[in-house]
Every structure is written in structure tokens, then in C-alpha cells.
Amino acid sequence: MNIVCEHLTYVYDKGSPFAVKALDDVSLTIAEGEFFGIIGHTGSGKSTFVQHLNGLIRLPSSKKKRYKPEKGEILPTLKVGEYDLTSRKTDFYSLRKKVGMVFQYPEYQLFAETVKDDVAFGLKNFSKGISKEETERAVGDALTACGLDPKEVAEMSPFDLSGGQKRRVAIAGVIVTRPEILVLDEPAAGLDPLGKREVMALLHRLHGSWCKTIVIVSHDMDEIAENCTRAAVFSEGKVVMCLPPRQLFKRTDELLSLGLDIPLVAKICLALQRRGIEIDCDFTADDFVAKVLALRRDRR
């Protein structure tokens, strides 16, 4: 399922004195199979955008019987695979099964008495009448995919787990419905450095094997550089850049002028540039090290 979005605009509290234009003519395509990153300041429109992807925020034309566009309004296109999100006829219920959404700090949403009940909750809601055995198997598979041993944790209270484990249980509760696209808002935020690394490794395991496409919102530029195929930069409701990390992080001046960070490798590359050394790498640590060592070999 590709995500195709053209001319998407969204205004919060439209018509009130508090009206805020959160998205301003956004056009963005995310292809099936990508590990896509979304970058931008708080308030840049990132979250508003991702909430459109499974219809948590719905376009006016998908809600009203006969939607009359305002004068001069460009009608947006928003398609997720076969689903046309501008249409009233769209089955949003089944769309939400296909597009899994993991919010920030998803562990705050854990509620059930046992891990297995918590993970099963979404599944039971989406698949009415699913048998007990099937549920059990699906929950076990989802927990295993998230790096947890069902035998060990299934009967535990989710509140007795560590922070990193809780987060993985919360992710299991979303992937249990086998979404094709998994969207995660700041999946690693607030964890300690090892917990962060575990969650990112988990997403890589899921990518391809479990979910075809992964979209992450992140403030951590190293995370984007190390993991993403492409990333879009949001600023004041607009997409100002959408590039693979290799090209994106060459535009350091633009990123810094937007008040955004750059990855550590980009910082070292800049410092090397000032010393007359150009390193052309994809801004991952491994590639940087390889390129530096190759450069030295060439010079000898």
C-alpha cells in the first residue's frame, strides 16, 4: 500500500479565534516498503499529518454527504493503498486495521490485568468472533515478534514490566492485527539508551517481515540517519524537504536555520570540511568509518 497525499490542508478550530493552520498544502508520497522518517519541531504539523493516515483526523469531504469546497479551495488527494480517504464511502474501520498507529508513550495506554489481555484487546475489537485459540496464537506471535517471551510475560501484569518491556507490549498490541503500515510517533523517546537501541532494532525486525512499511516521527537525527530510507522535514505546516538521509543531511545550513539538529556524523563531516576533507557518506556511523578508512588507504 502506497501513501499518496496531495494538497492536504488542515485547520484546527476552523472559524474560531483560535484557528491554527496545522497543515498547509502538504504533498507527500510514501512508497510501500519504505522506512520513512518525519522530522520537525513541535507544532510543525507532523502529528496532524500522521493522524490523517488512518482517519483519526478525517477530511471534511469524507464526513459530509455533499461537500461544497470553499471558493479557491484545492481539493486534496489522500490515498492509502486502495482506500480513498477523501470519500465518504471509505471503510475507515478496515483501514485502521491496515494502518497501525503507535502513539507517543504508548505504555501509558496499557490497562489490562495481564499482558495477554492487553495485547488481545485490539484484535478482539477488530476481529469479532475470533476463537480463543486463534487469539492466543496471534498474541503469542505478536509478543515473540516484539522480542518478548510469551511464556514468561503473558500472565504478568503489564505494570510489573520495565519501561522498555512495557513499550514493546504496547507495540505488540498494535501489530497483533497485522497492519501493513505501522506508524509510530517517537517510538524511542524517554527510554534509556539501551532501551532506545532495542526498540529501533525491533522496528527493523518488523520491517519487511511483519509490516511492509514503517513510518516514524522522530526528533533524533541520528535515529533518522541510521534507520530511514527517506525523511520529510515539516515546518510550519509545510513539507520543506523530502530526501534520503544521504542527501538530506548535506543541507546542514537549511536544517540548522530551521532550528533542527543534524546527526553526529554530519557534525564531524562539517568539521572535516573546514579542514579541507570531504567525506561522502550516508551519515550512518558504519559508512562514515568505512569512508574515512578508505580515504586514508587512497592517500597512502
Binding site: L264, V289, L293, R299
Partner: protein
């Protein structure tokens, strides 16, 4: 005088959860201390013990010489302010200045004194311009500054920040770090900063690493991040830049172990040119 002094402090949660074990920690007045440690190492428990939210099973805690016990609890709490992780859990009023005044009102200060302190606290965190703003409409960084101001209005001598920047974006994080640095420097407030971010820990005079409820390491922040093997033992990640330097060294390049990108670039440049 020691701002904080704990002697042989132990604590365990009901049901046997993790704990603090025989902890001896001294923090000097005016010091800026960073506390590191993986999740579950006891950092937050320590923060909660130091202003009496939790009571130790054994051992003593002294704050500026005053023992933290039933008799002195409220006195000590006025001196030790804590700012927690989630900005949304720390505001009580809907308007910024009312929220900042809340703590000061609770300790029964006269009206004029409260007004003065709110003014001072909002000024210190750079939020005077937003004193009449609605708290729920602020950014995360602004909300955390309001939380800090609320603590400041009580004129504490020690401020504990328990992962107060963990939920903020990089801009919000910078805002908080700036404010904390300024309070330490200008108001001479003793700061205990619990964090997972290396850049923040590097601002401290001294850092400790906690592991299983004990202080496992004490050093300068840069000194701690250079101790790679020990960091791994205590389930802490190596600094990214250290990993890169190590890989370059393994590849035969002569670079120093540093936390500064400039310095690493300097070494690479020299090594490549030779």
C-alpha cells in the same frame, strides 16, 4: 556545608521491588551533579527519597544539616524542589501565574511576598511575557519552565530534575538546560540532574552512575564517558562519538577518545594526511 548528605540509606518497595542499598552520597552546596544509570537503577527512587516523598527503611538523610524526619519534613521540602518528567502532570492551575503561585500559597506566605516570588520565578525561567497565558496551550518546554518556576517560588536551595527533559523536543530541552545552568550559576542553587542525555550530563561539575541502587562510579562527566568497559557493565550505552572513535582506532587510525566532534575531526585530518 553539605547540601545533601545521605548515610547508609536503604529503601525497598513493598512487594520487594527494586531499592536503594546502603547509599552514601554527599552533594556540596552550589554543586551541579549529574546522576546517570539505566532504567531501574534507582535514580528516581533516590530523587523521591531526598525530599521525603519516600521514607528510607534505614539510614539518615540530612539537608543542609537538618535531618529529614517527620519533625522536619516540611522544612526540608521547602528547600528541596523536584521537577518530574511529564509536564502535563505537574500543573494544577489553568493560568501560568496562578500555577506558579500554587506552592507558595500552600505554605501560607503573605500575599505581597507571593506576588514578589512569582515575579522572580517567572523572570528566572524567562516566562514573564506569558504570565497570563493558558497553561494547556503552552509547548512542553514552556510547561516545564512553569513547573520549574513553581518550585522556584518556594526559594529552594536544592533543585532535583528527574528526567525533566525526557519528553521534550530538542528545542524544549535546550530551554530547560539553559534555565537550570543559569539558576545554578546566578542563584547558587544546588542542582541534581537525573538524565539519559550525555550532552546534559556534560554540563555538570560531577557525575555519578547508579546501578542496583548503589553509586557505582563517581567522576567528572567526561571522565565517566571515557570509561567504556564500566559503562557497558552498568548497562549504559557508549557515547556515539566514542563508538566512532573506537571503530576508527580499530581500523588503524590514530584518534583520541573524545566527546568533541571538532577534536575528532582534527585527529582524523592529521591521521589521514600523514
Amino acid at each position: 556545608m553539605h547540601a545533601i548528605e545521605t548515610k547508609d540509606v536503604s529503601f525497598s518497595y513493598e512487594g520487594g521491588g527494586f531499592r536503594i542499598a546502603h547509599l552514601d552520597l554527599t552533594v556540596e552546596e552550589g554543586e551541579f551533579l549529574a546522576v546517570l544509570g539505566h532504567n531501574g537503577s534507582g535514580k528516581s527512587t533516590l530523587a523521591r527519597l531526598l525530599n521525603g516523598i519516600l521514607v528510607p527503611d534505614s539510614g539518615t538523610i540530612r539537608v543542609f544539616g537538618t535531618p529529614l524526619d517527620d519533625q522536619h519534613l516540611y522544612e526540608v521540602r521547602k528547600q528541596v524542589g523536584v521537577v518530574f518528567q511529564n509536564p502535563d502532570n505537574q500543573t494544577v492551575a489553568s493560568i501560568v501565574e496562578d500555577d506558579v503561585a500554587f506552592g507558595a500559597e500552600n505554605v501560607g506566605l503573605p500575599r505581597e511576598e507571593i506576588a514578589k516570588r512569582v515575579e522572580f520565578a517567572l523572570g528566572a525561567v524567562g516566562m514573564l511575557g506569558l504570565r497570563n497565558a493558558v497553561v494547556s496551550r503552552l509547548s512542553g518546554g514552556q510547561k516545564q519552565r512553569v513547573a520549574i518556576a513553581g518550585v522556584l517560588a518556594l526559594k529552594p536551595r536544592v533543585m532535583i530534575l528527574d528526567e525533566s527533559t525526557a519528553m521534550l523536543d530538542p528545542r524544549g530541552r535546550r530551554e530547560i538546560v539553559e534555565v537550570v545552568k543559569k539558576l545554578n550559576r546566578e542563584e547558587k542553587i544546588t542542582v541534581i540532574l537525573i538524565t539519559h542525555f550525555m550532552e546534559e550530563a556534560l554540563l555538570a561539575d560531577r557525575a555519578v552512575v547508579m546501578n542496583r541502587g548503589e553509586i557505582a562510579l563517581t567522576d567528572t562527566p567526561a571522565g565517566i564517558f571515557a570509561r567504556h568497559e564500566e559503562l557497558l557493565t552498568y548497562n549504559l550505552a557508549l557515547p556515539r562519538i566514542g563508538v566512532i572513535a573506537k571503530k576508527l582506532t580499530e581500523g588503524g587510525l590514530r584518534v583520541r577518545d573524545t566527546l568533541d566532534p571538532e577534536q575528532l575531526a582534527e585527529d582524523i585530518a592529521r591521521s589521514v594526511r600523514r
